[in-house]
Symmetry: C2
Subunit: 148 residues, 2 copies
Amino acid sequence: MAADSQLHHEIQGRLQQIDQLYTRGRQSIVEALVEAGSPITLPELLGRAPNLTQSSAYRNLAMMEEAGVVRRLVHSTDHAHYELAEDLTEHHHHLICRQCGLIKDVTLDKRLERTLDTAFDKLAADAGFQPDHHDIDVFGTCADCAGT
Amino acid sequence: MAADSQLHHEIQGRLQQIDQLYTRGRQSIVEALVEAGSPITLPELLGRAPNLTQSSAYRNLAMMEEAGVVRRLVHSTDHAHYELAEDLTEHHHHLICRQCGLIKDVTLDKRLERTLDTAFDKLAADAGFQPDHHDIDVFGTCADCAGT
DNA sequence: TTGCTTGCAAATGATTTGCACTGCT
DNA sequence: AGCAGTGCAAATCATTTGCAAGCAA
């Protein structure tokens, strides 16, 4: 709970920086994302917070992405998935089930992450890129779908 | 040239396996992807092969994705990008410019790839996943946009 | 011929937007 | 009162699909 109110406070701060209020509806979105625990789609979000309206949810998610509060993931043709920004949670990657679309968060060990960052920095530099973030998605079949 | 006709032959084989012909239009798509050298969007594809029609291009790309000939990348809200399947080219990852959307292919060294695969297999196993592929996208700013 | 492919135009579905209304401050 | 936020309904835009006509085996 303490961690939660800390989170809400931090978020309010980030919204303030772009002159936005942390309204009840926006809090509902954040709470739904926290409770979900992994990236969810807009319909899923509305299911978890029925007080929300589709258009406002889209609007607020877009605004909060601006504010660095949420992140939008696009892996498939249909619904994008949303999760809290990484620096509000933890640096992590995704295990994605090709069958059902389930997305599971996973973390790599620090040493390996450091190795990767070094490798990416070098690669990017060679290509004239200035890297600022990396995503790793591992595709496969989840336990449920494997049993099909 | 030799490598190219080899490629076309291989592709024709893959299409045959799902009872599809390697028609002129489909060849145009593949040629455009080869010439592009990096993932391109549908409008870009049509620009490179003006003989193509939008709907047929979409249809054929979808079918060729089925056949394991092309891959569809979805990183942003707008147009998806298409590239040849990895086993027709080479295992690689993407450097993506946040400003202009440019996507550049890069490869990691074999040793690091092996380390990663091992790590992912372990992670996935712990989560009950059966992994079959990984994508790594490095986001940042490309040389052109950095000069803005 | 005999279907598989194509092109055109219309449909679909996620996301966005206009506008009038509600609720803070 | 005054303006940011919301909900509703209509608009967008990438992608998909139905159908009639063209092309390859």
